[in-house]
Amino acid sequence: MDEVVFLSGLLAAGIRLAAPIALAAIGETLSQRVGVINVGIEGIMLVGAFIAVLLAVQSGSPWIGLLGAILAGIAMASLHAYFVVTLKTEQIVTGIALLFLGLGLSGYGYRLTLGELGAAVKVPGFRELDILGLADLPVIGPILFGQHALVYLAVASAIAMAWMFRATRLGVIIKAVGETPAAADSAGIHVDRVRFLCVLAAGGFAGAGGAFLSTAHLWGFVENMTAGRGFLAIACVVFARWNPVLAVLVALVFGIADAAQIRLQSIFPAVPYQFFVIAPYVVAIVSLAVGSRSSRMPAALGLPFAKPR
């Protein structure tokens, strides 16, 4: 029974650690489906994490913080969209600049505001839900009924997005823009407009991922607290073959690896803790080697669209 309790706790914690990666990965899936890579989501997540804490402290509500983080994510993404869609600059270089900008803006903003107050600031964060009072059920309770509201929202949006790609006109438009932009243009679709809007939505998801990190997983902001999660999210998108539901499941693998390494640290105190901390990163590196072959990426990924004259 002890093993079952251990595994249930591990899975519940793994879901919590996966959520920020999953949220960012859902957004990045949408962005890449229309043909735009954003390697700067790490920077967007950082800004989201900072804004969420700042607004939660000032308003007393984590929901206001979440809303602010989503809007901040959209604002950051609009810069990316303006550059790569409107000005048609190199997507990866622009994304790298966005990463630096996010790193700077969040660190700078934090030191100007909450950082000056010291660690004493109480952050009103999200609490886990207790759906139908079932969170205390043994084993499955904490996994299925005791998660943060954002976890359920993330799963719901992944499923909704998968359904959108599969069964709606909007999904067809998005796929056309990412696969054959010239044909989409001939069919009267505003390719650049669709791209712009999807990149903005992706920024909102990344901002929400950052908010989860700083107001649900932890209650507080630390400079560079994303620690590579934005890049793990990009890895999820590739491993999941641009399928949002699969991307969430891949994020769960990274989350469980992270939850496991934290537990293993206390089980094996003789082993230096650094060897456990690297676990999620090593998992990502190994899966890059194993999972990258024969991936069919959106045909127009990374390519700016030039309207034929």
Binding site: V39, G43, L79, Y82, F83, T86, L87, K88, T89, E90, I92, V93, T94, I96, A97, L98, L99, F100, L101, G102, L103, G104, L105, S106, G107, Y108, R111, L112, G115, E223, A227, G228, F231, L232, I234, A235, V238, P272, Q274, F275, V277, I278, Y281, V282, A284, I285, L288, A289, V290, S292, R293, S295, L303, P304, F305, A306, K307, R309
Partner: protein, 350 residues
């Protein structure tokens, strides 16, 4: 789509970015004009500031060259921080075996080069053999390297006294000699100048440079020309990793004399900004590196005095790259290519 049609939108966003930086400085309660003046005064008109900048320009030049090589081939190595650590660790581990003379110093630097090459090579193999994305691979390897360094300086490599998490000092004979009395400017300056000359020769004159440009411009064209993009990707990651490792060994042998955590903070990021602003031209890299170093030196002094928080440097790095991208669009005439990346170097004549 003509280039001129995008001139106004590009100029507009440059204005926005400048306004954003000014707003950020105003939010800190500082005066943007006096911050700019303070940076220039400290960096250009004080001996200490100028020397500090020159000192920082040494590793940034070497690393910027590595980024220039990689980005030219459209291989985005953003894991230089990890490669720098790997290089300096290998050099310091092997340091006790080295002879205490000039040859020892050369070996020390060569080991740094090798260590960085190995760390970059891991990402290279993943890219070439398995098609794994090098951006993700290199950044993940950063985190692994940082943790391994953290363990090493608290474990097997910790100083004999076992107090501070750092290694023992390397033999004094392995330290890079100071070039000018009364300063800390060390022989790493010569290493950096040699690196510029060699990389410039290779990139601008040699067959390798031609291959870089072809692979960077178009994978299919490269295959027609008999160049394997996968092999080039691996070679480029090994080479740029090696230059990062060399920079790490230079920092250890020239400045600190030992391993410690966080001894090259943010250099990997800065090197990317350096190379992009230098338009990936190896001859412009040292100029750009010195420019960014002046910025660091000047802003660092202001941050220490509490005028503005230091992360302003990251905002500036991001904004400078974006301004540079927008300016390239604004200055471009004509156009019509689909993959028209100004810094990807479509110059196949090189």
């Amino acid at each position: 789509m003509t280039g001129t049609a995008l001139r106004m939108p590009a100029l507009l966003v440059i204005g926005f970015l400048v306004a954003m930086v000014i707003a950020a400085i105003l939010l800190a309660g500082a005066d943007p004009a006096s911050v700019a003046y303070g940076i220039i005064e400290r960096a250009l008109f004080t001996r200490a500031g100028l020397l500090e900048a020159l000192l920082r320009a040494i590793p940034l030049t070497i690393m910027g060259l590595g980024i220039a090589i990689a980005f030219k081939a459209r291989i985005f190595n953003i894991g230089m921080d990890g490669q720098l650590i790997a290089g300096s660790v290998l050099a310091v581990v092997a340091a006790p075996l080295l002879p205490g003379n000039i040859a020892g110093i050369v070996f020390f630097l060569a080991l740094g080069f090798l260590g960085g090459a190995v760390w970059g090579g891991i990402a290279g193999v993943i890219k070439a053999r398995f098609g794994g994305n090098e951006i993700i691979a290199t950044i993940m390897l950063n985190y692994v390297a940082v943790q391994l360094l953290s363990w090493l300086v608290r474990g097997p490599l910790q100083e004999k006294m076992k107090i501070i998490p750092r290694s023992d000092a390397i033999d004094q004979a392995l330290r890079l000699p100071v070039l000018f009395d009364g300063t800390r400017i060390h022989a790493g300056l010569i290493v950096a100048i040699l690196a510029v000359a060699i990389v410039a020769l290779v990139m601008l004159r040699g067959r390798f440079g031609y291959r870089l440009a072809v692979v960077g411009a178009n994978d299919h064209a490269a295959r027609y020309a008999g160049i394997s993009p996968a092999w080039m990707a691996a070679a480029v990651l090994i080479l740029s990793g090696a230059l990062a490792g060399l920079a790490g060994a230079v920092e250890v042998a020239g400045l600190y004399g030992r391993l410690q955590e966080g001894f090259a903070p943010g250099f990997g990021i800065a090197a990317i900004a350096v190379a992009l602003v230098a338009r990936l031209n190896p001859l412009l890299v040292p100029v750009s590196a010195f420019g960014f170093s002046l910025l660091y030196s000047g802003l660092g002094a202001l941050a220490r005095n509490g005028v503005v928080p230091f992360p302003l440097i990251n905002i500036l790095e991001g904004a400078i790259i974006l301004v540079f991208l927008a300016a390239t669009v604004a200055l471009r005439h004509g156009g019509g290519q689909t993959r028209e990346a100004p810094e990807s170097g479509a110059r196949a004549d090189g």
